[in-house]
């Protein structure tokens, strides 16, 4: 029997602002600008939005959406506090809401001034998910994600022989894709040598292994699939979607396998729901807070075996035209950091065959992941409907 949520919901609208370093706008203004763009893209009016799942903590809350967009009857306000896994996990929440009739159109949105406003370490101080890290690890000098995730990357290198060259490949290919997109922060080519020469942040992560701090907003609208068919754009349906939480979710240090991500649990559920497997994907937009995070997720998703992520990304396999093009928009590494909602937007654009110079030929089926906090994971499998 098919999963009750399978293809019951669709991405009906997408919207984003310019991705920049420096803006006079507030995070809330960026979030609203992207939201208005996504609603217009769907062919809807703000009056049609009756559910909101804003990124939290940091950004607008339901009250802001009612006040700014004049929402006449907001029926659902939910936070999905999973850091970088939030945006894709929010698709599951929104799909449940529209499939059950609680809502008609749910708005997922992010606005952030990560460059011109508060930087990552001070933002994370607000997160209850980081309370254990703040108590036990910040005092000894371990708090930023670059530091916390570096230990997993180091262990992978020691166990499997993964190298900085493998990580550089992800940074370089992602940059190539960003340049094709245009609306990106990083628009100059990056070489392997430049990656290796960039300053060390937290070994083994160098500067170009780390995602950007940027300013920008992004939003998507999720609608019931049968309604979305009548809206403005080609129908992109949600075949499978799941969130996952690893063991010891608030302390990587105490997780029996520090290379376990929430995606380890979410991916099998999403593939089963969609009735497809990794081999069926035309492309993948993989949450890329760090190069290594991409490499490890490719293993967890089953594109290769544990420990083989390094060799897997080489030889053009993840480049446009390769076996599995990834992060065709430039990702968080090169386009901008809107907590991965830009990955959802890009996959939707690809499946609409609207991705310009970065278009994957005949793209029909793809996946997008989220990864965040201290290992939470999420995945959505999207399809271009006939």
């Amino acid at each position: 029997m098919s999963h009750p949520l399978r293809e019951k919901a669709a991405i009906s609208g997408i919207g984003e602002t310019a991705y920049t370093r420096g803006t006079p706008k507030s995070g809330l203004a960026l979030q609203m600008e992207a939201s208005l763009a996504a609603i217009a893209d769907a062919g809807l009016s703000p009056r049609d939005i009756d559910g909101v799942v804003p990124y939290f903590p940091g950004g607008g809350i339901a009250e802001d959406f009612v006040a700014n967009l004049g929402l006449p009857d907001l029926a659902l306000s939910v936070f999905v506090p999973m850091g970088g896994a939030t945006c894709v996990a929010a698709i599951q929440t929104a799909a449940m809401a529209v499939a059950t009739g609680v809502c008609r159109n749910v708005l997922i949105s992010v606005g952030r001034t990560g460059y011109s406003g508060a930087r990552v370490s001070s933002r994370l101080q607000q997160f209850p998910q980081f309370a254990l890290t703040a108590e036990h690890e910040a005092p000894i000098g371990l708090f930023a994600p670059a530091q916390l995730y570096a230990q997993g990357a180091r262990r992978h290198m020691e166990l499997y022989g993964t190298t900085p060259r493998h990580m550089a490949e992800i940074a370089v290919v992602t940059r190539e894709h960003a340049i094709l997109n245009g609306n990106v922060v990083m628009n100059k080519p990056l070489t392997v040598e430049e990656h290796h020469a960039s300053r060390m942040i937290s070994d083994p992560f160098r500067l170009f292994d780390c995602s950007l701090e940027s300013d920008g907003g992004a939003a998507v609208v999720i609608s019931a699939a049968d309604r979305a068919r009548d809206l403005a754009r080609p129908l992109v349906t949600i075949m499978g979607v799941a969130e996952g939480h690893p063991e010891s979710p608030a302390a990587i240090s105490q997780r029996p396998d520090i290379l376990e991500f929430g995606l380890t649990r979410a991916a099998p559920r999403a593939f089963a729901m969609a009735g497809v497997g990794p081999k069926d994907m035309d492309l993948a937009e993989i949450y890329d807070c760090f190069t290594f995070t991409v490499l490890r997720q490719l293993e967890i998703l089953g594109f290769c075996k544990d420990g083989e992520g390094g060799p897997f990304v080489m030889d053009g396999r993840i480049r446009l035209g390769g076996e599995l093009p990834i992060n065709t928009h430039g990702g968080l590494l090169s386009q901008g950091h809107v907590v991965g909602l830009n990955h959802v937007i890009e996959l939707t654009r690809q499946l609409r065959r609207d991705a310009g110079k970065a278009q994957v030929k005949d793209a029909e089926l793809g996946l997008v992941t989220g990864y965040g906090d201290l290992g939470d994971g999420s995945i959505a499998i999207l399809r271009r409907a006939a």
Partner: protein, 142 residues
Amino acid sequence: MSTAPIAAPAPERPLPTPTRESQPYWDGLREGRFLLQYCSGCGKVRHYPRPVCPHCFSMESTFREAPTGGAIHSWTVCHHPFNFYFKASVPYIVALVDMDAGVRVNAQLRGVAPDSLKIGQRVKLAFEPVNEQVTLPFFVAE
């Protein structure tokens, strides 16, 4: 009119805010003892301290002194000071250690060259008082 430059305040060291559950752990460190939380129901150790045993759901527990030796599980060498307090101490090693007691501890590893580190390398926990209330753990070679 010119004004004298105002010196930036010295960055403060991030310090733990103990919870009702974790207070005995921090009290132990202050006394130079490595105390861990053991379930009174099933006897299993758990870290970081919390109210319920995830194995048997007992809410009764005791803190007991545990062995301070362990083996390196992984590490990172921190070069960028995300908190300016650590600007003077970079680069420093943070080792994640499989303690013989059956939990992990993350702490700075001192007196060891980063290039020589290996998974499984033996270390032991030591105690660094930072003020009257707080003592933090660090590692040295065993």
